[in-house]
């Protein structure tokens, strides 16, 4: 098989570019800690209300500046539908679904994860700017999918 000289240049350049991309995201993920959301905890999707921590959904203080938000996604909303966090707080979101597949997405941030029933998915975010943040569902979940939302008040 014969490659034209220029095709060799091109393929070497292309492959090097791809290797660079992979290295950047790889290092950023595996040593920088910026992995895509990958919760490994599981539960019975029909018993969410009885399973801790989702028997008491809401915000929980972990330490000084860190909070845990244990939330339930369902057709067509989240429980609770509003939480309040102080400015600068780091919030770890643990979200599961009581019924079908949903998402937990805060537009304008990197918080964007699938919520599949039977699994808990996890993502975190530091709310450095005050304001009201919209959370929406971007995975089709039924006829009210476009109404599914909650808010995070950062004060």
């Amino acid at each position: 098989m014969h490659f034209h000289r220029y095709e060799k240049y091109w393929l070497i350049f292309g492959l090097c570019t791809l290797v660079v991309f992979l290295t950047i995201v790889g290092v950023n993920a595996f040593s920088g800690g910026h992995q895509p959301p990958t919760g490994m905890m599981t539960l019975d999707p029909t018993k969410v209300d009885q399973t801790p921590p989702f028997d008491q959904p809401g915000l929980k203080k972990v330490d000084d500046n860190t909070y845990e938000a244990n939330l339930i996604a369902m057709a067509f909303g989240y429980n609770p539908s509003k939480i309040e966090v102080p400015v600068g707080a780091k919030v770890i979101f643990n979200v599961t679904s009581k019924d079908v597949v949903h998402s937990f997405t805060i537009p304008g941030t990197n918080v964007n994860m699938m919520i599949t029933p039977g699994h808990v998915n996890t993502s975190e975010f530091s709310f450095d700017k005050p304001g009201s943040y919209l959370v929406l569902c971007n995975e089709y979940c039924g006829s009210g999918h476009h109404m599914m939302q909650m808010t995070i008040e950062v004060k």
Partner: protein, 556 residues
């Protein structure tokens, strides 16, 4: 033209596939228009139509039905052209495949129209559609296996008759496409037959959601290559002839198809990057494999430019880019695929962004993704297929692509490109701002974040609606032109007038092709190994450590 006599019986088979395909475009495009208008807040749907019902029809009819039928119509015509008429047996099998697929399509479509299957074309569990929706989809897949078997039979028959000879490039590439299709559809077939159908009938109480999604995406990514490869066949084999040039390199063309078979399958996790239950290491491994499948597309880009440049220079072009001026832009058979190629540059670049592990959280399930596949499958592939239609249909029906029809085709192509430019650009930008895909009109109770999506020019839902409207006009023109070419265009009176099926010759300077490329056992063996490496451990884990499954739910 005289080397292979056209078989009218094979033409009829191809035309049947194409006709169903264009009926699907007709309905699917109406849905697409309505979706764009609804999202832009231009119209409200009457109460008996649900947005998600339209979206299901749009996805199924355009992404699954149109593509598959068109591809089969084209490939049957191409193997008949390059490897001789099908045997009666192979042709009958082709017809059985056609009818099985068609029964399946009708069955699923009826369920969508009845509102019993508003689960979208991805049918993610535990949304539960009517069992007939899943059965219909299963029949489409099984029908495609039967039709695919007919083409594989034809190919192996040719090789037996011509032992020692190199197969025609078109036949080789067809075989690669069908092999890819069979290997990948096994995943979705297992899921539909053993998970969805029993569960939707109530024979099984619960379903393993993560496993069903994984089996779906094991199929879902190679699915996009099943769409792309036939377009690449046209780019590699037919375009050189249309522009008056030669195939740049036979062996590199074959090598790129082999690489597609190897690397397009063990990569489904890149659609599940933001999902729980799949460890990061396995996600990253499949991200790396995904990046490997970029290589054959880099090769294709080079081959195409090289074909254009060598042809232009043979016609006397000078300077660095003089060859660009020698291309037949006013020939729709070239112009439509060429516009498609241009869209594929940002389309492919966007695909690399999507596959980049944690960067996926920026765009996952936002409108960016919808913009992305409309400038990959929805334009490069679709405009190539439209460009093919302008010569394939008159070729099959013995008619002529008249200068007037060529001009109509040019206008149609321009409209599609302009409409897609507006719609896809707006979608990409809205997506970066977080606007969700698969979502009817919503301002989220006038939330300021959502109201932003109705401001500006490109970051505006109304631009999506505008582009969609132009696209819709182009789609209706195409459907009209298809039927016109099939039934009303003037008949070709003799061989000279007849529309040709352009098959490029290989350039004299091209090197001989290594025989290993035609040894399918080797390639299938390697792809099986790669699939096992990428999937065995995580899938075993999904089964053995599965949470309690989900009961069926209907939320529409």
């Amino acid at each position: 033209m005289n080397s292979v006599v056209k078989s009218p019986k094979d033409s009829k088979l191809s035309m049947s596939y194409l006709t169903v395909g264009f009926i699907a475009v007709f309905i699917g495009a109406i849905c697409g228009l309505l979706q764009g208008l609804v999202r832009g807040g231009v119209i409200e749907l009457p109460s008996f139509i649900n947005y998600y019902q339209l979206l299901t029809a749009h996805g199924v009819l355009l992404a699954l039905v149109f593509t598959t039928y068109f591809i089969y119509g084209l490939l049957f015509a191409g193997v008949s052209k390059t490897m001789g008429a099908l045997s009666d047996k192979a042709r009958s099998i082709g017809w059985i495949g056609f009818w099985v697929m068609t029964i399946g399509t009708i069955c699923s479509t009826i369920m969508i129209i009845l509102g019993e299957a508003s689960v979208l074309y991805t049918f993610y569990a535990p949304l539960k559609a009517h069992p007939l929706y899943y059965i219909g989809l299963a029949l489409v897949v099984v029908g495609s296996w039967i039709g695919g078997a007919a083409m594989l039979m034809h190919y192996s028959g040719w090789r037996k008759k011509n032992s020692g000879k190199l197969s025609p490039l078109f036949g080789y590439m067809t075989t690669a496409t069908i092999i890819l299709w069979i290997v990948c559809t096994i995943g979705v077939a297992i899921s539909v037959l053993f998970q969805f159908i029993p569960w939707s009938f109530g024979w099984a109480d619960r379903i393993n959601v993560l496993l069903s999604r994984t089996l779906f995406w094991y199929f879902g990514h190679p699915l996009v290559y099943f769409w792309l490869l036939p377009a690449y066949i046209i780019w590699y084999v037919c375009i050189p002839k249309i522009i008056g040039g030669k195939v740049f390199s036979d062996s590199l063309a074959r090598l790129s198809f082999v690489l597609f078979i190897l690397f397009s399958i063990p990569v489904g996790f890149h659609h599940q990057l933001t999902e729980s239950g799949i460890p990061e290491g396995w996600k990253f491994l499949q991200v790396v494999l995904t990046f490997m499948v970029i290589t054959p597309s880099l090769m294709t880009a080079f081959s195409l430019f090289a074909t254009f440049e060598t042809t232009g220079r043979e016609k006397g072009a000078r300077g660095l880019f003089g060859w660009l001026k020698k291309l037949p832009y006013n020939d729709v058979r070239f112009f439509a695929p060429f516009m498609g190629m241009l869209f594929f540059i940002p389309g492919g670049a966007g695909g690399i962004v999507n596959a980049s592990h944690q960067m996926n959280t920026v765009i996952h399930n936002t409108l960016w993704v919808v913009g992305h596949f409309h400038i990959t499958v929805g334009t490069p592939v679709v405009l190539t297929f439209f460009g093919v239609t302008y010569w394939l249909v008159p070729y099959l029906t013995g008619r002529k692509l008249t200068p007037a029809l060529n001009r109509a085709g040019m206008i149609q192509t321009i409209l599609w490109s302009v409409g897609m430019f507006f719609m896809s650009t707006a979608m990409h930008i809205l997506g970066l701002f977080g606007a969700p895909r698969r979502t009817a009109y919503s301002t989220y109770q006038d939330n300021p974040t959502a109201l932003e999506w109705f401001h500006g020019f490109f970051a505006h839902y109304t631009t999506v609606a505008l582009g969609g409207t132009i696209l819709f006009i182009a789609a209706m023109m195409m459907v009209y032109l298809f039927f016109h070419l099939a039934f009303f265009a003037p008949k070709a009176e003799n061989d000279i007038e007849a529309t040709e099926f352009p098959i490029g010759e290989v350039a004299e300077h091209a090197y001989t092709t290594p025989r290993i490329l035609e040894n399918w056992k080797v390639w299938i063996g390697i792809v099986v190994v790669l699939i096992l490496i990428a999937y065995t451990i995580p899938v075993t884990d999904m089964i053995t450590h599965a949470p309690a499954g989900s009961p069926p739910i209907r939320t529409w």
